[in-house]
Amino acid sequence: MRTIKSLSLRPISTGFTLRNRLSEQIQEITQCDPQKKPTVDPITVEHHSRLSNKWWNVNGELRALHALNSLRVQFVRDGLANVGFKVECPYLPLKGIKILDVGCGGGILSEPLARIGADVTGIDASSELITAAKEHAALDPSLDGKLNYIETVIEDFAPDNKETFNAILASEVIEHVNDKELFLKYCISTVKPGGSIFLTTINKTLSSWLGGIIAAENVLKLIPKGTHDWNKFITPAEMQSLLETCIPSWLQNKINSWNVLQSFKERVVLDNFNSDKLRASRGKEKTFNPFIN
């Protein structure tokens, strides 16, 4: 809670301050304990790792994530279509798209995206989950060569993969992240100019506390206890201000968000803030941005 407050109270940063803060932080990381990653919450990673053998049970603890899939895939397809991506092959609607799935877990969302033609790179901090994801992907020969799982964290991955992906995806991840601002900055740095960023997360409302934590974790036991920490949830307004600090010309970018009530969860889905405007903004800040140079 405190983190978010301080984040949202920050003034909208310019390209310059962005550069300064980021380089400071990066220096900090390298100078401090190399094992300690600012975006990763070790407790969450451990919690999810314990579920690695249950990840693909569609009726198990993670059924809510499975149930969200049709919505999430459609979200990505529609989002890309909205920025002018043309589907050439009707059964491979994402053919030719390079996607980075940050916090892919066992690959619940990476697999369907790869199955419809995308070249998906999934990264996760948990080695157990990456192993589970790889094992499961091997069961479907049609995924061969379309999926690449890497055990890493975004702060390690991003510097080597600048402007690599057409789209990046952090689905149901940001609510588990410690330093959200840094996380987003690293994520954005891997996107090609004009690319898309898809974020889906649980809203920070009374009903998400009652439904998503009290009911789903404690009463109905739909999801394992300790999956979510309400204090780390983020509201659309907080998300917007966070994005404003990450992308200087954010205010000009259009944000589409909608709330969907599903499986006792109130979610906020933030669409594509991208295309020409992002490209333009990227162009302007180019000389200042440590990620681009």
């Binding site: 049709s70 092959c89 059964y91 369907p112 080597d160």
Partner: protein, 470 residues
């Protein structure tokens, strides 16, 4: 790491030049075709519904990459056009016609023969109640009468061109193993020992569906102790034959469906013993029985008569339609030689249509009394919805056996099928009796329905499959 990335990119570029990802498909078979032949979808049962489903799946652009196997236990169907009409006909609704048009089969039917029903008259033998659908010919056609054989032939003709569909005739299924999880395949073994595997098994194998039995789902059924006699009839005098006639008799409904200006098709539901007797009697006697069933005046109960008169006055007072002019039903002069046949009537409904990687369509899932001519249309409705949802599964990157989509199919279809099935069953029960209160109630109901345009329109729309699919 960086080099690895470059390598990946290289593969990616390479694949772009291979159309339709065919390299992946070939790989799929070479890896796991050790002793099973692999498919994406297996359909058991190559009847009208199963064959249409195979064709509709292959025809959908989102599913065109899927390899489909159609297993038919009978021998390959050879259609020979005969002047003589087949005694097995179906009444297709608008939605079924749309489906057949979309797979290109309707053009073959159109080029051969079919008959359009533009008006339908249903009346009660025990009272003056009746209902006429589309008496003003304002809406489009109500139904299309097509011979079963011709329909199957038309669909088969379209299926031949589909490269991704393999049809195996004379294939007797010995054993079925259904998947328990999404990662498993459905496995099917034929009596000759060949085995096939697929992500999705579709049971279109009719009333005694082996797929349904393997699923172990609960199946609600009852026997009507009735048989339906079918035959091709010659009318006494040629007319503009565009009306479907149905008269509710105490023993069961008799229906005449138009074929040509001088031919009609008979569907007559009767108690089993009576039906068996009528199958044996001479053709002359049979024709007499039909005319009797169409024309015989039954004694009318005084209570019913007065009740109907009261309703008539009420409707007149409300200036609602009080009953259109009753058109006189045709008489029959003869039956086409050896066109008599009968089949038992049952009600059956599978409580569940689906299971992971398994789904039932058509008669395998539901069977109804033919009195409303809806049975096959419900099956074709299943096809339309299932194809849509499987296409949705594909573009969402889900496995074909994913319960998310199958469950949607089940919900949509049961929500549509069950009310129709129970309405038909209820109609059957309602019209079985001759007790005055029952006759009065149904007569008032029928007359009221006839008089209130909104209800009538809703009925027609539901029967033609226009609503209820989404």
């Amino acid at each position: 790491m960086k080099q690895y990335q470059v390598f990946l990119l290289h593969i990616y570029v390479y694949k772009c030049f291979i159309p339709n990802g065919s390299i992946l498909v070939t790989r799929d078979y070479s890896i796991s075709a050790k002793n099973h032949e692999n498919y994406d979808i297996i359909i058991t049962g190559g009847g009208m519904v199963g064959t249409t489903l195979a064709c509709a799946l292959a025809n959908n652009r989102k599913l065109e990459c899927k390899k489909i196997l159609l297993l038919e236990s009978g021998k390959q169907f050879e259609y020979k056009f005969e002047e003589k009409y087949s005694n097995r006909v179906v009444a297709l609704n608008q939605q079924t016609r749309t489906l057949l048009s979309s797979i290109g089969a309707w053009q073959h039917i159109k080029a051969t023969r079919y008959c359009t029903v533009q008006k339908m008259q249903v009346w009660d033998a025990c009272s003056d109640a009746m209902i006429v659908f589309n008496e003003d010919y304002l809406t489009k056609e109500i139904a299309y009468i097509v011979e079963n054989d011709l329909l199957l032939h038309a669909v088969n003709k379209q299926l031949i061109d589909k490269e991704n569909v393999n049809v195996i005739y004379n294939s007797k299924v010995e054993n079925i193993k259904l998947p328990k999880t999404l990662e498993e395949n459905a496995e099917i073994q034929l009596q000759d020992g060949t085995k096939y595997k697929a992500k999705l098994l579709i049971g279109a194998d009719g009333v005694n569906s082996l797929v349904r039995q393997t699923m172990g789902t609960q199946y609600v059924k009852w026997d009507y102790n009735q048989m339906a006699i079918v035959a091709t009839l010659k009318l006494s005098e040629p007319t503009e034959n565009i009306v479907a006639w149905q008269r509710f008799l105490p023993a069961g409904p008799i229906a005449l469906l138009p074929l040509t200006n001088c031919l009609s098709s008979l569907v007559w539901s009767l108690p089993t013993t009576e039906a068996k007797r009528l199958l044996k009697v001479s053709e002359e006697e049979f024709v007499d029985s039909i005319n009797n069933a169409l024309w015989k005046v039954y004694p009318k109960d005084g209570i019913v008569e007065s009740g109907m008169r009261a309703l008539q006055q009420l409707l007149e007072g409300l200036s609602l339609q009080t009953g259109v002019v009753k058109q006189l039903q045709p008489s029959v002069s003869a039956i086409i030689e050896r066109s008599r046949a009968a089949f038992p009537l049952q009600f059956g409904h599978s409580v569940s249509y689906i299971q992971t990687g398994t789904v039932l369509v058509g008669d395998a899932a539901h069977r109804v009394h033919p009195l409303a001519g809806q049975g096959v249309n419900l099956g074709f409705g299943d096809v339309t919805v299932l194809v849509q949802l499987l296409a949705e599964a594909v573009i969402n990157g889900a496995s074909l056996g994913d319960m998310t989509y199958l469950r949607k199919y089940e919900t949509l279809r049961q929500r549509y099928n069950v009310p129709i099935m129970f309405t038909i069953d209820a109609l059957h029960r309602l019209y079985k009796g001759t007790a005055a209160p029952v006759v009065l109630a149904r007569s008032l109901g029928l007359q009221l329905t006839n008089a209130i345009p909104v209800i009538k329109k809703a009925l027609i729309e539901h029967a033609s499959g226009q609503i209820g699919n989404r």
